[in-house]
């Protein structure tokens, strides 16, 4: 319960997060569930009175729907079964996936491992900053060759 979700909810949520953002095929980027974003989502849910009921209700519905297919819950289902249930959930709990997807993106694209996977340092910009080429100012030669562009007055 460290995250504020029950163990069963955490397990289901982790699987759902990996469905929203699965690991990349080249292995450079982790899945959102594997990244441990459950705690981030729990924090976001606690801070957002609008989001909380939608997420809790969605998880509950998903656990119920999964129970009919596997005693081990949503995470034990096949890829296709998970996709089917999430599609069904989009009808029965329409606020669940959009709200969760948005929060997942927020957590995922701020994570150091993801930044590194994208090829940028997994740290805040300051204090190290970034190197940037001055660039070729010779590209301005045609502009320099043109007459003045302002009106004298």
């Amino acid at each position: 319960m460290a995250s504020g979700f029950s163990d069963a909810e955490s397990s289901t949520l982790t699987s759902v997060l990996d469905e929203i953002i699965p690991p990349s095929r080249d292995g450079k980027l982790p899945g959102a569930g594997e990244l441990g974003l459950v705690d981030y989502i729990a924090d976001a849910v606690e801070k957002s009175p609008d989001l909380k009921p939608a997420i809790l209700e969605g998880l509950s519905t998903l656990q119920d729907l999964s129970g009919g297919r596997s005693s081990d819950g949503f995470s034990a289902l096949s890829k296709n079964e998970k996709a089917e249930l999430l599609k069904e959930l989009a009808t029965t709990s329409p606020a669940f996936l959009p709200g969760l997807t948005y929060q997942t993106y927020l957590g995922y694209y701020q994570h150091p491992r993801v930044l590194e996977g994208l090829g940028i340092p997994g740290r805040p910009p300051h204090p190290k900053g970034y190197e940037l080429e001055v660039g070729d100012l010779g590209l301005l030669d045609p502009v320099r060759a043109r007459p003045k562009r302002y009106r004298e007055c």
């Binding site: 940037l132 080429e133 045609p142 009106r151 004298e152």
Partner: protein, 534 residues
């Protein structure tokens, strides 16, 4: 100092207040500045922490209505397609500005004479030129000499790096034979006057942790304070008070504990921006000024000008390293700046290229535009967007219209119970045509640079960055609020020095001109000290 009368009392410590305070400091007068915000701590700016991408939407966001900082005042801008952006702290909105730092053109001061619309300014470029130069020394302006769009001027620092993104877009402009030039930027590109050099952090618009960006808390204020100017923070001014002769005699303000206090002054200077200044004047009601102080013309709050902005973005095939470098400062184009009536509108605009998006912004933009899928294919669709965006904001000249105005909201108040401003603003037909034109030209140049897809938003709703015209300058007291050197026609010891006094808006960012005007007005005050109120 409840009973002490200070010589000069400045309200607001932003771009204008800081410059004037610094300039007047050499008079050895007793100068006090009241600022409703506090000193910022750059070590706490977003780029120092892992949540740097998100805080620009939160406590360091552009809108005072969304930030929720106690020093902010709410603004009712529901009747405007453009929403006000500002910041309340020592340094004012320079804390969050992009530091794009162009000058006005000479023609911008002669709009009526040259183009037959709006009004001429009572001053001109040549008069302001030495103050632009002085401001460049104080703020530190990076740029490149030789821009054919301007009279000769000497930047104080080397230009900001073009990077791969700037080169790519520059080639696009060249392909079309259009003007472009590295942007004049108030950014220390090398160590300058104790400020560390820019290290290309990216989001300048959430505060510069490096101190390279020239916000006035790191430029004018440290010098002004060393020279004896007193800067009192967390002091929110409610109204300017007048004596029995209708002269300003000080202000009523609330201190950090919310206690109402009076500060007397010989001269009051208002520097609260194009929305905060009319708000303060309209809240300063007395028997001498039943419609607000200095408002006998009825023009306080009228003629509000924003700059209508368009944003035009392109998606490129190659990575552009766009997450590096000053967000808003790269290159600019004034190909369409001067009036050409054949375009269907008068006056013109500047294209200001932007760096690319950070990882999170890329995801959120992809989500909202329907280009980013979740589930299988997520990473492939993300890679189509990540570090492939480049584009521009286009800053269109607005024209003064009395129907665009700042008034007092009958219900909304700040934390001290002071009535808040209400904005009524609509886009003119001229602005609509200009926006349409600039979106088409923006897409054209991005395609010439290699964009495979383009996107546009116009007007850009969040772009109420520039607040001008609401206490305009002029020689006729019936048609203006202040004279040609910022002194109110109706109250000869009351000065206004911010963007409120602009007669027209030009098609460039106003901060450099606000500060040049402020330095000029300070000089006029010094020159006229012996007979300042005559």
């Amino acid at each position: 100092m409840p009973d002490e009368v200070v010589d000069v009392l400045i309200v607001g410590s932003g771009a204008a207040g800081a410059a004037l305070a610094w300039s007047l400091a050499d008079t050895r007068m007793k100068i006090v500045c009241l600022e409703q915000g506090d000193w910022m701590d750059p070590a706490k700016y977003p780029t120092t922490a892992m949540d740097w991408q998100l805080r620009g939407f939160g406590d360091m966001g552009l809108s005072p209505n969304g930030r929720g900082r106690p020093e902010d005042y709410p603004i009712n801008d529901s009747e405007s397609p453009i929403h006000v952006s500002n910041f309340n702290a020592v340094g004012g909105s320079t804390i969050l500005y992009a530091a794009h730092f162009p000058r006005f053109h000479p023609a911008d001061f002669k709009v009526r004479t040259l183009d037959g619309i709006a009004d001429d300014w009572p001053i001109d470029y040549r008069l302001l030129e030495p103050y632009y130069d002085e401001n460049a020394r104080m703020m530190g302006v990076a740029g490149l000499e030789g821009d054919p769009a301007y009279p000769p001027k000497k930047p104080t620092l080397p230009p900001v790096p073009l990077g791969k993104l700037g080169e790519t877009l520059g080639r696009g402009f060249n392909k079309l034979g259009w003007h472009w030039w590295p942007s004049d930027s108030a950014i220390a590109t090398r160590e300058y006057e104790g400020r560390a050099p820019c290290i290309n952090l990216g989001p300048c618009i959430t505060g510069c942790a490096q101190g390279a960006k020239a916000s006035t808390d790191v430029t004018y204020w440290p010098v002004a304070v060393r020279r004896g100017v007193e800067l009192w923070t967390r002091c929110r001014v409610r109204e300017i008070t007048v004596d029995e002769n209708g002269m300003a005699d000080g202000v009523l303000y609330y201190d950090a504990e919310g206690v109402e206090r009076k500060q007397k002054a010989e001269v009051v200077v208002v520097a609260c921006n194009g929305v905060g200044t009319p708000r303060l004047l309209l809240n300063s009601v007395s028997s001498h000024f039943p419609d607000g102080i200095a408002n006998r013309s009825g023009l306080v709050g009228k003629n509000l000008m924003f700059h209508p902005y368009a944003m035009v973005m392109g998606l490129f095939d190659e990575p552009l390293e766009g997450y590096k470098g000053p967000t808003g400062c790269c290159i600019m184009s004034q190909e369409f700046y001067e009036t050409d009536p054949s375009r269907g509108f008068l006056r013109g605009y500047t294209m200001e290229t932007l760096r690319g998006m950070a990882p999170l912004s890329t995801a959120l933009w992809g989500m909202s535009s329907g280009q980013l899928s979740s589930g299988e294919g997520h990473h492939e669709s993300y890679q189509q967007l990540w570090d492939r965006t480049a584009g521009m904001v286009v800053i269109c000249e607005d024209l003064p219209e009395e129907c665009n105005q700042v008034t007092l909201d009958p219900e909304l108040e700040d934390g001290n119970g002071i009535p808040s401003p209400k904005i009524d603003y609509r886009l003119s037909e001229n602005s609509k045509k200009m926006l349409e034109h600039c979106v088409a030209r923006g897409k054209e140049v991005l395609e010439a640079a290699g964009a495979r897809k383009t996107y546009a938003e116009a007007p850009l709703g969040v772009a109420g960055w520039h607040l001008m015209g609401t206490a305009r300058m002029g020689t006729d007291p019936q048609k203006s609020v202040v004279n040609e050197w910022g002194r109110c026609h109706d109250v000869k010891n009351l000065f206004i020095i911010d963007g409120s006094i602009f007669v027209t808006a030009a098609g460039v960012n106003p901060t450099n001109t606000i500060q040049a005007l402020s330095l000029y007005i300070a000089d006029k005050i010094k020159q006229n000290l012996a007979n300042l109120f005559d």
